[in-house]
């Protein structure tokens, strides 16, 4: 099989081709590594390419596939991993100077799982520093460029994972989603991104940003790939007490999913002020498609959306400031050479090791947790969280899924966002609610606005991954036919 054909296959198609002997894992890995070497100069989607390890692993997997020792659907398929997921023996920098030389001595649970299924890690992808940002511009390794728009950001924070899948530099990738970090870059780059229900995928080995919000998930070329990947990485993990038992999704059910009679809720507030008309049109067109296939569509009021951004940023920053405290230049983090005493190690390490956006959020977090402010901010945010949960519980009594845009805009121009952080934070308005209460949601490409991809967000009930993947697949099948 020639390289170009290989690069054009979805992960499941490639897995099948390897299984059927039409190509090998080694051939596929070589094709991807070659492509990365040539093409990624333009995008900077990878921060580490593990050529040697990948090729050695691919040979090993090919032998196991040949002997029948591994039979998984994605055996032999290369995968790119966001650089905040710990990979034993491979740099895991979180795109920060703080961890520029951190090589974990252990694998994250998701890495163990995908390696058990015979997948091969080809590299680590770029991201916003410590996953804080929506543009992948805050990376210590420099910005990633959106393959779908030359002067556009890929979104973030999993911008590298979305960009490499969009540019055919990986068949599939893992990202992490704390407030939209899988869905928003998937939307900006025109690929599929699944944020699973909180707890279905172990966080063990994911360098924490905000522990109660973080969730690992796949970024892929279509919903079927996302479903297959979800089945590999999900499941309760004794090393993560927030993880839960959950069921695998059925690929057959998803493939033949019928939306007839299903109820779709459209929250008015998701289409309010600030949304680009082109984005609104594309999403509503996709909704109209479902309606044409027999789904029942209803608009509804969800005023709680107004509290989304403050609630999210209070909880996320509070947890982040604590999670990131360990980077202080003693056991972990950048060690300044000119420090003279303990306090100066701390000050210099953290002043020089963290970027601006990370520092901003650490300060916000410290502020909201300070004695005297804790009740006014953190506890208020927890109260808002329970109101948000009530609002969604109520909506899901009526609807099977909730659909809206992933982001109010398409991919922004490079260099235009960071100067106005508040505006950047407002761009998260459609994605963060899902994280606050742990719901599953998927970002599905649904056309373009001014030549840039638009993503539709399908939100489901807790543990209802099969339904939102079904909706996504149904739409993708329909667009292929059309």
């Amino acid at each position: 099989m020639d390289d170009k054909t290989i690069l054009g296959l979805t992960a499941l198609e490639l897995g099948r081709a390897i299984k059927e002997g039409k190509t090998t894992s080694l051939e596929a890995c070589k094709a991807y590594i070659e492509a990365i070497r040539e093409e990624d100069k333009k995008y900077n989607s990878y921060v580490t390419v593990c050529e040697e390890q990948a090729l050695a692993k691919a040979k090993e997997i090919d032998a196991k596939i040949a002997s029948g020792a591994i039979t998984s659907d994605l055996a032999g398929v290369p995968i790119a991993i966001k650089d905040n997921i710990c990979t034993k023996g491979i740099l895991t920098t979180c795109a920060s100077k703080m961890l520029h030389n951190f090589i974990p001595p252990y694998d994250a649970t998701v890495i163990k799982k995908l390696e058990e299924e015979g997948m091969v890690i080809i590299g680590k992808t770029n991201m916003d520093e410590f996953a804080m940002g929506s543009t992948t511009e805050t990376s210590y390794h420099g910005a990633t460029i959106n393959p779908r728009g030359a002067n556009r950001v890929p979104g973030g924070s999993s911008g590298g994972s979305a960009a490499c899948v969009a540019a055919n530099l990986a068949p599939i990738a893992l990202g992490s989603d704390t407030g939209g970090s899988i869905r928003q870059p998937a939307s900006f780059c025109g690929v599929t991104g699944l944020k699973p229900t909180y707890g279905t995928v172990s966080r063990y080995g994911l360098v924490a940003f905000a522990s109660s919000l973080d969730q690992i998930g796949p970024i892929s070329r279509d919903a079927m790939d996302a479903a297959a990947m979800y089945n590999i990485i999900n499941g309760r993990d004794d090393r993560d007490q927030s993880s839960t038992d959950c069921n695998d999704v059925s690929l057959d059910n998803i493939k033949s999913f019928d939306v007839k009679g299903k109820k779709i809720g459209i929250p008015e507030q998701y289409f309010g002020e600030g949304i680009e008309p082109g984005v609104k049109d594309a999403v509503m067109k996709a909704v109209a498609y479902y309606e044409s296939k027999g789904a029942i569509v209803e608009k509804f009021d969800m005023p709680i959306v107004d509290y989304a951004i403050p609630t999210y940023y209070i909880i996320a920053c509070a947890e982040a400031c604590s999670n990131l405290s360990r980077y202080d230049g003693i056991k972990y983090g950048f060690r300044p050479e000119d420090a003279t005493d303990l306090t100066s190690v701390y000050i210099k390490s953290r002043s020089q090791g963290f970027g601006l956006e990370v520092k901003r959020r650490i300060m916000l977090g410290n502020f909201v947790l300070s004695s005297g402010y804790f009740d006014a901010y953190y506890n208020k945010a927890l109260q808002a969280k329970s109101l948000i949960k009530d609002a969604f519980d109520k909506a899901f009594e009526k609807y099977d899924v909730i659909i809206g845009p992933v982001a109010p805009t398409t991919a922004l121009e490079i260099g235009k966002s960071l100067s106005d952080p508040l505006k950047m934070y407002l761009g998260d308005i459609c994605t963060v609610l899902v994280n606050i209460i742990g719901l599953p949601a998927i970002s599905v490409p649904c056309g373009e606005s001014d030549g840039l991809p638009v993503g539709m967000q399908i939100i489901g009930k807790p543990y209802d991954e099969e339904q939102i993947l079904g909706f996504a697949c149904n739409y993708q099948n329909g667009s292929k036919e059309a």
């Binding site: 905040n84 997921i85 710990c86 895991t92 979180c94 961890l99 951190f102 974990p104 001595p105 252990y106 994250a108 966080r203 063990y204 080995g205 994911l206 360098v207 924490a208 905000a210 522990s211 109660s212 004794d238 090393r239 993560d240 007490q241 927030s242 509070a318 947890e319 400031c321 604590s322 405290s325 360990r326 202080d328 003693i330 056991k331 972990y332 303990l342 701390y346 410290n366 947790l369 300070s370 004695s371 804790f374 953190y378």
Partner: protein, 479 residues
């Protein structure tokens, strides 16, 4: 000068004797080579998550019930955030909002009678590592072995009015923890540490004075001295027209004074918040009742029972119940011999002397009560005499030997078989014709001489009673 009274509250940390740490599988053993009991979790490696050791909860509930606390049904862990090199995550997982035990009390005996000390709360938390300063290189190194060792922090109410009450309380606390088997409470190894909050006020005043906190004082004696020093310092300060500053002070045990470490203005804001990595922990009624039903008998009850049931002297009962090691020996040996008073005598006279001679504190003694039981049985059965028994005990104390085997091997058994000793005694009579004829002529005192000669001939191993019987019989035959 006015009369002053002290008001003291204690925060006591006890390291729990679980085999593994509170949030990972590393060993909790004291004294390993630096950084050998460390994994990615307890060293705070990026990406790692804590997993709660259920044994810690069990131990905390045990301690709480023993100290008459209410057990919190819905528990949470919180993060206490601060920077220090011995804390690799830069936060300590602890409990602020929902501590596992609340509202308990301990009754302690003082020279003025019994006094009840309130327990405000007990919470679970992880220990930090240790900084080791190398005086040669001037470097400071970190040993993370202790990182993640489970702790209970027991916070008392400000109910103490004297150092004596404090020591009585700490002793009781230590005994209770040891009886429960949840902590060995060795201050010298740091498995029990006390922070003392102390203020003074004129007698009769209702409001508390300004308090200072003295941290991590390393022995009961030092605590007593530190309390007295700090009381005098505060009173002198007030009498001279000064005011006590709320601050943390450190006790220097060599120079015997306290000095200021940190004032309230510089007090840290720990920015506590619920740890999102650990789920709320529900404790059921059934779980609590199961633990309550299996609580051991504590020192006070045991002491009373030893006196009433076994007839031990108060003093002996007090000493034996003062160390769980002695309790174990006493109960094991009593079970084997059914001779509690005998056992108690052996402990009080012989075992404690052996501890002293070997420079071992009774509570640190490693001695199996089965050996004492065996020795006592051998003596009471007449297999060995008490003197030999004492020698065997001495041997058993320092070496791992079986008393019966040892006696056998070294030919120490007392000969009580009359057929075995008769020929020897016959020979003694043959060799001493004069005392024999004098005895037969009516000189009773020669009998004792012949017993002595016979015992010597039997090299002390014979049962004196058997010797007398045989001797009487043989002499009667000669009449």
């Amino acid at each position: 000068m006015k009369d002053y009274e002290m008001v003291i509250g204690l925060e006591v940390h006890c390291e729990l004797q679980t085999a593994t740490k509170i949030f990972c599988g590393c060993s909790t053993k004291f004294g390993g080579a630096p950084n050998t009991h460390v994994c990615e979790v307890c060293s705070g490696m990026p990406g790692t998550l804590p997993t709660l050791n259920k044994k810690v909860v069990e131990f905390a509930v045990k301690a709480g019930l023993a100290l008459n606390c209410d057990i919190t049904r819905k528990n949470k862990f919180d993060r206490k955030n601060y920077f220090y090199p011995d804390l690799p995550k830069a936060y300590q997982i602890s409990q602020l909002y929902f501590p596992i035990c609340r509202n308990g009390h301990v009754d302690v005996k003082t020279s003025e009678g019994m006094k009840s000390i309130g327990i405000h709360e007990i919470h679970m938390e992880e220990d930090a590592g240790k900084l080791v300063h190398d005086p040669v290189t001037g470097m400071t190194m970190v040993d993370f072995n202790r990182c993640g060792v489970p702790l209970l922090e027991i916070v008392s109410e400000p109910d103490f009015r004297s150092a004596e009450e404090v020591i009585a309380y700490l002793t009781k606390l230590r005994d209770t923890m040891q009886y429960l088997g949840v902590s060995d409470c060795k201050m010298q190894e740091g498995s029990m540490r006390a922070d003392v909050n102390l203020s003074v006020r004129p007698v009769g005043q209702k409001e508390f004075g300004t308090r200072t906190e003295m941290k991590n004082i390393a022995s009961f004696k030092a605590i007593e001295r530190a309390i007295e020093y700090e009381r005098d310092r505060q009173i002198d300060l007030i009498e001279e027209g000064g005011t006590v500053v709320q601050e943390t002070r450190r006790w220097d045990d060599e120079k015997e004074y306290t000095y200021a470490m940190r004032s309230k203005e510089n007090a840290q804001d720990y920015k506590y918040f619920p740890d999102p990595d650990l789920m709320p922990l529900e404790i059921s009624e059934e779980y609590i009742e199961n633990i309550r039903a299996n609580l051991p008998e504590f020192a006070d009850a045991k002491r009373e029972r030893y006196v009433s049931q076994f007839g031990l002297p108060e003093y002996d009962a007090e000493i034996i119940t003062g160390a769980t090691t002695l309790v174990d020996v006493f109960e094991t040996a009593t079970e084997m011999t059914d001779q509690p008073k005998d056992v108690s005598n052996w402990i009080m006279t012989d075992l404690l002397k052996l501890c002293k001679d070997n420079h071992v504190a009774a509570e640190d003694m490693e001695f199996d009560g089965k050996k004492l039981g065996a020795i006592i049985n051998l003596v009471n059965e007449g297999k060995v005499n008490r003197k030999t028994g004492r020698q065997v005990l001495e041997k058993c104390f320092t070496e791992d030997i079986d008393p019966a085997e040892y006696i056998e091997k070294n030919g120490l058994a007392q000969v009580s078989d009359t057929s075995a000793i008769e020929p020897v005694i016959k020979q003694v009579l043959d060799e001493n014709p004069k005392p024999v004829s004098e005895f037969l002529a009516g000189s009773e005192k020669n009998f004792q001489f012949l017993v002595g000669q016979s015992m010597r001939a039997l090299r002390g191993k014979a049962d004196p009673q058997a010797v007398r019987t045989v001797l009487t019989k043989l002499l009667d035959e000669m009449r």
